[in-house]
Each structure stands twice: as structure tokens, then as C-alpha cells.
């Protein structure tokens, strides 16, 4: 008996319209746990080497984790894994909401979408009843509009995930939307759903999850729940959510401003958490099983729109990075991205790059299609978001490819201010003067994303410009802990934000599955998954190695302007030294490739020897 899991994997062959179910492989779950780990394993074993991310050979793996849908705090997370159309490498995007629990209750540990449907469809799942239904009438609809429509048609209890027009139009950073404001945002997972012509997934489940030791699991989960509720930071966190960090970032030169030229925004006070809360927040909103809801549902009177957010990343990338200093304008940009199905971080990064090109005279008003693309012009931002989603006009189509490709096409030195790593636009922390955080971005397994290791606190605690091995160790430690949460199918924020003890996780997994796990066992599995995703890059990207971990030039060549980091930057040598420390501690060679000894130690040697 495989306790803690639903026991089946659902395989949907979209090309032939054939739906099959197969037992969840116990050995794989022991070695990779589920969600992110299962996705990485399936990507390695099922998507052949050299597959076109937008071709029929690529697959989308949609997976809850073992803790998903249980009583454990924050058990509302799931993972979408695919070969990224944005970067060409590994993509793993985590999403909150209610869908993960519903998939598990319907009886599935993963849904595999493979092939390409000849016509628009949506996947209908009602426990054992699984159908591909015609989605032609829905093609072109916005994400929220479709979610509402499907709930009206199928019933409120169905949980719905959708793509917007951006996914249909194969914008390389299209996201998947759910629960009117939760996203699997990064790496183009929505693009892959779009090319497969799957407009939506609707799930209802009524089954249970087998638990090995119900009494012990309940005891651990309740204790963890209580720890969250009684945490000193509970009131602040639930009142402001991630927006609370905006003022701190601004104060410490970490708030991306005007395409990361500065870490401080002169209009910052207008977009801080208290302004947000008082001006536009309507209510708090949490995911499945969340005792500490970070979601803030907002209404902008100025634009007459409702939106969940902005949360911090969106506030940074669609706000200060574009020099928008009105929280209602940021909320509007957020709502447009959500409805159209665009990742707010990548969208902000692409528009900021274009604004800088415009400012420098590299793009003119003819190329922008008449838009006055000055920093701070909210109307131009709204218009450009629409054009990107619909690939409208030369600039909309260009930016739909992502900032790396856009800069490669435009040239004229614009690569220098294309802020990305591995082709993924950097999320909202300025890293001119924060060597741990810079290393975290350089080495994150999807590209420049913060969720793998948020190390900027450590920079401030030990000295932000220091180049020492301890910083590489901290980044590695975080890269094992934080993605582990994505593997277990639960939210990291109870630990990160409220200090819920890490000591709860291994006992919970032991009681849930009946397999004795120590915390070190879980970290070892997380390290195994990290190295497998690294090997995926090695396998799929010709010439992959150290050069792919290079920092965005802006942080090592151009000093920051203004704020507490004025005049500061990280030297190229310092960035390379940080990489040396990192590779050595990971057991990778000088080119950043895991050694055979490392792969052996992690139990990956046999798996990676066979390349599909």
C-alpha cells in the first residue's frame, strides 16, 4: 500500500484522444517524493533528448505532492514541470490554490499531458470519469472569465485551471491561472498548455488519501497548525502578506527600479504595504489548508477592477521597475497579466528592457507602434501588456519571445540591460550589492527566480558584499529546503515567514507514508532532485556549463544609481569566485557539471546514464 499518495497517474494522449491510468510507481515516489521531484523524474525519463518545447514530444506534468490535500499547514501547493519554451531547459512552476487537493481527491498523483490536440479542448475530471471536451467556444477567453464560466457550467465545487490568450498565442512566458489569482507563473508552462491546445483543466474529487498513522499525522499537523496561528508575526503577515517587504527592499537598495538600474524608488512610499492595505485591499485570501493567508484580494476604484494582488514580486516588476508609483496602476497591470495569462515577473522584465531601449533611442515611436514608452507611463504599460499577449505589432511580438531573445534581435548593446539568467527574467530583488542573492539567481535551476533560494537576508546579516564560502553554503542549504516544500506539495511561507519549525516535516511525512524519514533524508532527496534538474540542462542545452550561470551584466559592470547601494556593484571576479565556492561545495566540476562521484552519491548515476 502506497500511503500518502492517490495511487494512480493519469495519462492524456492529446494527439489520439486516448486517456489511460497507471499505478503510481512506488520506487520513484520513495526516491523523488512527488510534485517537483516526480515532475523532474518524468521529464528526464519521458521527454526525449532534443524535444522541441513546443512540439508533440514535450509533455506537461501536473503533480500534487504527498502532503497536498492533507491537514498539514499550507498543503495547497502543486507543481507543473515541462521543458521550457522560454529557456530551453528545465521548467518547474509551483502553484497554490485549491486544485492540488482536488486532483488528489480525484485519485491522481500526476496528470501527464502529452502530444498535441487537433482542436481546442479542456480536460474534465470527475473522480474516475475523465474526458476531453471541446473548448472551441472558450478559445480566446480570458483566464478569470473562463474560470467563472466553467464554474457556472460545471458547478462551483470544480476546481479550474486555465490559460489566457497569451498561452494560446504561445507567448514564451505564459502562465497557468487558477482560483481567480493563483498562478503557475514561470518558464512558460502556460505556453506548453497552449501549444497542446488545452484551454483548461476542471477537476472534482471525492476520494480520500490513505494515511499510514492517522493519529500521529493528525497530532503533528495540528501542532504545526497551532505553531503558525500562535506565531508572533501572524497578525502582520496576514494583514499585509508579501507586500510588507516592499519598504524593506526600498530602504535597503533591493527594490528593482527602472530596469534594475537602482534599488531604491523615489515614489516607493506610494506603493508600500500600508498604502496598499488601506487603499485597495478588500479581503484576505488563502490557499487550501492555509492558516496564514498571504493573498490579498483588491479592488481599484480608479480602474474598476478586482484582482488578487499585487503581491511583492508583481509590485516590484510591474511597479518600481517600470517607475509606476500608483498602487492602483500596478493593480491594473497585474489584473491584465492575470486575465491574459502572462507571468507578471517576466512581463515586467521585458517591458522594463523595452523602456530603457526607448529612453536610449534604440527603439523609436514607430517601432513601439506609437506608444510613448517612457518609464512611468502607465497607459503605455497597459497597452503593451495587451500587445504582448496577442503578439500584436512588431514590439508585442518581439517581447513575447522573452528578454533574452528580444535583446539578441535588437542588439546595439541592449543585451547589457536584458536582466535574465539562462533566459529567464530576474524576479524583484536588485543584486548590485548582495553576493549571496546574486549567486542564488545565477544558479537557480529554472533561471533567475527567487523562490529556490532567498538569501538576501544573509547578505545583510554577514556583509552584503562579502565573497566567502559560507555564502555559497547558505545558498545551497536554501536550494535544498525551499524546493523541498515544492516537492512535498506544501507552502514554504509558514516556515519562511512565521518561523514554523522544520522539525514538523519529517514526522509528518513518516506518519503520512509509513516510511521513516529523517530531515536529512528529505534534504538528501531534495539534493538528488536539484542535481537531476542540473543534468537536464546538461543534456538538453549544447555547451551548457559555467557560462550559463553568468550574472546579468548590469550587476557586475554598472554601479547602482541612488539609494543606499549608490555606486555599488559586484565585480565580475567576485561573481566568478562565488561560483567556484558553489561548484566545489556541490561536488560539481569547474564547468558546473555534477561529477560522477556526486551522481553516484545521490543515487543518480544509473538514471542519468540512460538518455531517452
Amino acid at each position: 500500500m502506497l500511503y500518502g499518495y492517490a495511487g494512480q497517474i493519469l495519462r492524456v494522449d492529446l494527439t489520439r484522444g486516448v486517456i489511460t491510468k497507471e499505478p503510481t510507481p512506488e520506487r520513484v515516489m520513495r526516491n523523488f517524493l512527488g510534485a517537483r521531484g516526480l515532475g523532474a523524474y518524468l521529464l528526464w525519463t519521458e521527454v526525449p533528448h532534443g524535444a522541441d518545447p513546443l512540439g508533440p514530444q514535450n509533455k506537461l506534468f501536473i503533480s500534487p505532492g504527498p502532503l497536498s490535500g492533507t491537514l498539514f499547514p499550507g498543503a495547497g501547493k502543486m507543481d507543473f514541470t515541462t521543458k521550457s519554451p522560454l529557456t530551453g531547459g528545465y521548467a518547474g512552476a509551483s502553484m497554490g490554490g485549491m486544485l492540488t487537493a482536488e486532483i488528489k481527491y480525484a485519485g491522481y498523483d500526476s496528470i501527464i499531458l502529452e502530444g498535441i490536440s487537433p482542436r481546442p479542448v479542456y480536460l474534465y475530471i470527475d473522480d474516475d470519469t475523465v474526458e476531453l471536451r471541446d473548448a472551441t467556444p472558450y478559445w480566446g477567453m480570458g483566464s478569470f472569465a473562463l474560470e467563472k464560466r466553467l464554474k457556472d457550467e460545471l458547478g462551483e465545487e470544480f476546481q479550474i485551471a486555465t490559460i489566457g490568450p497569451a498561452g494560446e498565442n504561445l507567448v514564451k512566458y505564459a502562465c497557468i491561472n487558477h482560483d481567480y489569482g493563483r498562478q503557475a507563473g514561470r518558464g512558460g508552462v502556460g505556453t506548453v498548455m497552449g501549444v497542446k491546445k488545452v484551454k483548461a483543466i476542471a477537476v472534482r474529487g471525492s476520494k480520500g488519501i490513505p494515511i499510514a498513522d492517522m493519529d500521529e499525522f493528525t497530532r503533528v499537523a495540528k501542532a504545526a497548525y497551532r505553531a503558525c496561528k500562535e506565531a508572533d508575526g501572524y497578525e502582520a503577515w496576514t494583514r499585509y502578506g508579501t507586500m510588507m517587504v516592499t519598504s524593506w527592499c526600498d530602504e535597503n537598495g533591493a527594490l528593482p527600479t527602472r530596469n534594475f538600474r537602482s534599488g531604491s524608488f523615489e515614489q516607493g512610499a506610494n506603493i508600500y504595504a500600508p498604502v496598499f492595505r488601506e487603499k485597495i485591499v478588500v479581503t484576505d485570501k488563502g490557499c487550501f489548508g492555509c492558516p496564514t493567508p498571504c493573498g490579498k484580494y483588491a479592488h481599484s476604484k480608479k480602474h474598476n477592477i478586482y484582482v488578487e494582488g499585487p503581491e511583492y514580486e508583481t509590485n516590484g516588476m510591474l511597479g518600481s521597475d517600470l517607475a509606476l508609483g500608483d498602487i492602483e496602476d500596478i493593480a491594473r497591470a497585474n489584473q491584465l497579466c492575470d486575465e491574459l495569462g502572462l507571468d507578471t515577473i517576466s512581463t515586467g522584465g521585458c517591458i522594463a528592457w523595452a523602456m530603457e531601449c526607448y529612453e536610449k533611442g534604440i527603439l523609436n515611436q514607430e517601432q513601439t507602434g506609437g506608444l510613448d514608452l517612457r518609464f512611468g507611463n502607465a497607459q503605455a504599460v497597459f497597452a503593451l501588456i495587451e500587445r504582448i499577449a496577442h503578439r500584436e505589432g512588431w514590439l508585442g511580438n518581439l517581447l513575447a519571445e522573452g528578454v533574452k531573445q528580444a535583446a539578441a534581435q535588437v542588439g546595439q548593446g541592449s543585451e547589457k540591460w536584458a536582466i535574465h539568467v539562462k533566459g529567464m527574467e530576474q524576479s524583484a530583488y536588485d543584486t548590485h550589492s548582495a553576493t549571496s542573492m546574486l549567486l542564488a539567481y545565477m544558479t537557480a535551476d529554472v533561471g533567475a527566480h527567487h523562490n529556490r533560494a532567498w538569501a538576501i537576508t544573509y547578505d545583510l546579516a554577514v556583509g552584503r558584499d562579502k565573497v566567502v564560502p559560507e555564502k555559497a553554503a547558505k545558498v545551497i542549504e536554501l536550494q535544498h529546503i525551499r524546493p523541498l516544500m515544492d516537492t512535498l506539495g506544501c507552502c514554504r511561507l509558514q516556515w519562511v515567514e512565521l518561523g514554523m519549525s522544520l522539525d514538523f516535516y519529517a514526522p509528518a511525512m513518516t506518519a503520512l507514508t509509513g516510511v521513516t524519514y529523517s530531515w536529512q533524508d528529505l534534504l538528501h532527496i531534495s539534493e538528488r532532485i536539484w542535481n537531476l534538474t542540473r543534468m537536464y540542462w546538461v543534456r538538453e542545452v549544447a555547451g551548457f556549463g559555467r557560462v550559463w550561470d553568468a550574472p546579468p551584466p548590469r550587476f557586475v559592470e554598472e554601479p547602482a544609481v541612488g539609494g543606499v547601494t549608490d555606486g555599488k556593484l559586484t565585480s565580475p571576479e567576485a561573481a566568478q569566485q562565488m561560483l567556484d565556492y558553489y561548484y566545489q561545495q556541490r561536488g560539481w566540476d569547474a564547468n558546473g557539471i555534477p561529477t560522477s562521484e556526486t551522481l553516484q552519491r545521490l543515487g543518480l548515476a544509473e538514471l542519468v546514464r540512460v538518455m531517452p
Binding site: D232, G233, Y240, A273, N451, L498
Partner: protein
């Protein structure tokens, strides 16, 4: 004339694990933090009676001031 300062989470490490400190009124929050050894740069939020205020705020007699460590973004 005193203020209760509550360091949240990792900030307790800077005050020897103390859950709350009683301080005299007068200084700003930033000055209080510096006086007890908590680096102000690590404080993301200052909540005076559960409302967010800036580090330049002068707490009044009887106020409870929670200082929250930097958090992890989205």
C-alpha cells in the same frame, strides 16, 4: 513611561532569545533597535499596536512594538 518591544522570529537571536523587552519612551524605533543590538536593516516591518509604522516612529507610553524580520517575497 515604557514601551514593550517584541522581536519576532530570528530577531530574538540578537537579544539573547528574549521574547519581549521593556524600554523607556523617547527614542525612535530605529534608535531602540540599535540600542538593544538588533540590526535595523534586518527589520522588514515595525508594528505598533499591530499597525505598520516606519522606523522613525516614536512609540508612546504603553505601546507594544513588534519588529518582524525580513521575509521571503512571493
Amino acid at each position: 513611561m515604557s514601551v514593550t518591544l517584541i522581536p519576532v522570529g530570528m530577531l530574538k537571536e540578537y537579544v539573547g532569545g528574549q521574547a519581549r523587552l521593556e524600554l523607556a519612551t523617547g527614542p525612535t524605533v530605529r534608535e531602540m533597535l540599535e540600542a538593544v543590538g538588533i540590526p535595523p536593516t534586518l527589520v522588514a516591518g515595525v508594528l505598533c499596536n499591530d499597525l505598520l509604522v516606519s522606523k522613525t516612529y516614536h512609540p508612546q507610553d504603553g505601546d507594544t512594538v513588534k519588529v518582524v524580520a525580513v521575509i521571503g517575497g512571493g
